[in-house]
């Protein structure tokens, strides 16, 4: 009989693994991503592939440097998922080097310098997005109207390569995102109703037929993916629901106070990166609190911050900043927001029977 070193049980395990979780998250992202590919065509597909490929290469390089197992870590899916989330939050026709630099920042600075999987304080994809936004504001805010794949106006594969590598120019209607349009126009004293009249068709925004980054457009498909993950027990509902409620309440409140200045909850919830972030990035297990109560605090904080940044700060697409700030708060939340232990009071003393009974 083989010698089994004394180890505590249990001796049975649920069939779960890190890789399985990562793959399921990717599966949940697939519909929204595929729809983004359809809307923005070959350039988006090429940019996406470049970002994922370079992230994988950076991950392998870091693992080699750190002398860690390539087979175990490079294929755990975490680097690919990070790059995936970064890629779909980029403007669809951004140049190739945006993808490569973004992947480098995400994998090297966002994740590996902290010690790799599970060790990072900030969500790597959001670190990269914010770094890109600050460093390359022009490329990172140049959005365009969708030109669906296979439509007559859509660029072919070769034209797509030309667009991404900057070797050819292509006529596309470039445009700013809704939130930044609102921001700029409000700044110029145009009333909200007037701005929205030309821009805002709610059904289009919910379906995703709108000016957006590759994968954040279709709120509906993102919500569907999120619900799939919640029911698949890959994530919990605490963060998405609390964020949506907090953001929705803030937007509704200010919209009631002054409808000419503050867009309503629908705009905040269904445009920009809201749904992508609340379901797929805020729920990043590594950088969010561990207890349900902590996650609710995190979600509320995120909702409030997003509203504040979008409304009163210089960045109308404030989601990524809000995420990083809340990531920084996570250790603090985890320290102070803890579940009540069985048989003990919240403070940790054994419960007294006279009070409980």
């Amino acid at each position: 009989m083989t010698y089994i070193p004394p180890m505590s049980g249990p001796y049975m395990r649920k069939n779960k693994s890190v890789r399985r979780s990562m793959l399921l998250v990717m599966a949940a992202l697939t519909p929204a991503t595929a729809y983004g590919f359809y809307l923005f065509g070959w350039p988006a597909i090429i940019l996406f592939s470049i970002t994922l490929g370079s992230a994988f290469i950076f991950e392998v390089m870091c693992l080699l440097l750190a002398k860690r197992s390539i087979t175990m870590y490079a294929f755990d899916g975490s680097a690919i998922l990070t790059a995936w989330l970064l890629a779909i939050s980029l403007p669809p026709w951004a140049p190739w080097w945006i993808g490569v630099i973004g992947a480098a920042i995400a994998i090297i600075l966002g994740k590996q310098v902290f010690g790799g999987l599970g060790q990072n304080v900030f969500n790597p994809a959001m670190v990269a997005r914010v770094a890109l936004l600050i460093s390359f504001p022009l490329q990172m805010t140049t959005y365009m109207q969708p030109i669906p794949l296979f439509s007559s106006a859509a660029p072919s594969f070769m034209e797509g390569v030309g667009i991404i590598f900057g070797t050819s120019s292509f006529d596309a209607v470039s445009s700013a995102s809704l939130l930044s349009t609102i921001k700029t126009d409000l700044g110029q004293g145009i009333a909200l109703g007037e701005i929205m009249a030309g821009q805002y068709i709610p059904s289009d925004w919910i379906l995703g037929n709108s000016v957006s980054s590759i994968g954040e457009g279709s709120a509906l498909l993102l919500i569907a993916g999120g619900i799939f993950l919640i029911f698949g027990r890959i994530m919990t509902w605490y963060i998405p629901v609390s964020t949506i409620i907090a953001l929705g309440l803030m937007a509704t409140l200010f919209n009631i106070i002054d409808p000419s200045q503050y867009p309503d909850a629908m705009v905040h919830l269904f445009s920009g990166a809201t749904m992508l972030v609340v379901f797929f990035i805020a729920t990043d297990p590594v950088t969010s609190p561990m207890s349900p109560k902590g996650q609710i605090v995190f979600g509320i904080g995120l909702g409030l911050l997003v509203y504040i940044i979008r409304t009163w700060a210089a960045y109308p697409e404030g989601m990524s900043f809000a995420i990083l700030l809340m990531n920084a708060m996570t250790p603090l939340i985890d320290r102070y927001v803890r579940p009540r232990i069985f048989g003990r009071t919240q403070k940790g003393d054994p419960i007294k029977l006279s009070e409980k009974a």
């Binding site: 009989m1 004394p6 001796y11 779960k16 950088t287 232990i341 419960i351 007294k352």
Partner: protein, 496 residues
Amino acid sequence: MEIFNIQGGAKLNGHKSLTADLEIITTPMPDILHIPLQQHIGAPAEPIVNHGDRVLKGQLIATSKGLISAPVHAPTSGIVKRIGDFPAPHPSGLPVLTLTLEPDGLNEWAALPEPLDIETATSQEIADRVSQSGIVGMGGATFPSAVKLNLGQRYKLEMLVINGAECEPYLTCDDRLMQERTEKTVMGIRVMMKALNVPKALIAIEANKPHAFKAMEEECANDDNINIVNVPARYPMGSEKHLVQALTGKETPAKGMTADLGVVVHNVATAFAVYEAIYLGRPLISRIVTVSGQAINKPGNYDTLIGTPVSSLIALSGGMSSEPKQLLMGGPMMGQPLPNLDVPIIKGSSGILALIDTETIDQDVMPCIGCGSCVMVCPVALLPLDMASRIQHEDMDGADSIGVRDCVSCGSCNYVCPSHIPLVQYFNHAKGRLKEQDIDRRNQDRMKDLAQKRASRDEKTLLALEQKRADREAYNAAMTKMDGKGHGTDNEMDIK
């Protein structure tokens, strides 16, 4: 009846169909029996027979020592071959004092104590008989049962809960017992109610045992004082404090006992052992063991003598089809790996499991990704991932401050962890370390105390001497004054 929620918990694949429908088989007499003298929590029993003695079935062979202990009886008649160290059914395989008995095949009973008349017996008499019969908690905890039948003297009790949850996967020994020995088990329960002086009993059975539930319900149909309750099949429902919470909605205080809530919990197999002790005068010398797992050719439920080597039980089950990946005593969640097949069945052995590769997943440990699955399933509402990271950094006091000692080692966190981190291993390690620290601290305090006492004693002696010297000097001075001549020199020498 209302069932209250328990925190966390995991839905496990029960694997119970392997043996759930198989009738209990009484095992034939093995060639040799190894009877450890410590099969319970507490002090080991002390042998009272000698090498070469012939003992009879049911004869006392080792007496209990101390308050928390249990005696051991001969499972059959035969010759004592050896009294010495033998590997224990514990992962370490460390030797414990064991009595080796060679059965003579006659199975001749010793003179047994008279059955007790349940109508006239007092609580103390029942508890004494249970104690003399060597009965321990048969769910696996092996705490001497008599101690838990005496609680009525110290606590105001309202209810007896019989734990028939059997929440560990694979195990079906309690399930079969409740189906096949229903009447006797219920008689045992009534004895326990009498001993505890409680008006009612609840028998909790997990929803995955409908036949046992039906059998027990039919048996108790005319008894308003005993209710059978279906509890959800949710691990660790069989944990004493959680079962009481599910049944009463009350939470046992940390460091407290369910008796604080007026509830005492006994295992259903213990109730059957109590029946045998009271009505037949028979001590605990056998138990039902589930032998299961996919490596076992013919899984089953066996009524087995205490001391039977695991190897004979496996041979009886048609042997193993392949080398098992994991060989366990108890269930797969909280059971322990066996060091080898020679170790014996003891009073707390509910199962012998031989698991193959696909049943016991052995995967690479990945870093914690903080998914919080462990937080969701922890029945004690701890933060397993936080405790584990503190323990990894050798911060035992930190782990203690967030409740590692409240952990019941149920293994739910470990079961769901996608990174396959051996969480329970960490927690057990930390609990051991903290216990050592406590002992060290206590010893240090004791030393300090003794040193202080000694110092104050020395001081007192010095003060006394000082006083004596002063007295002498005063006396001398007085004498000198009186005589006019000095006695000083002599007296000074005295004091030195």
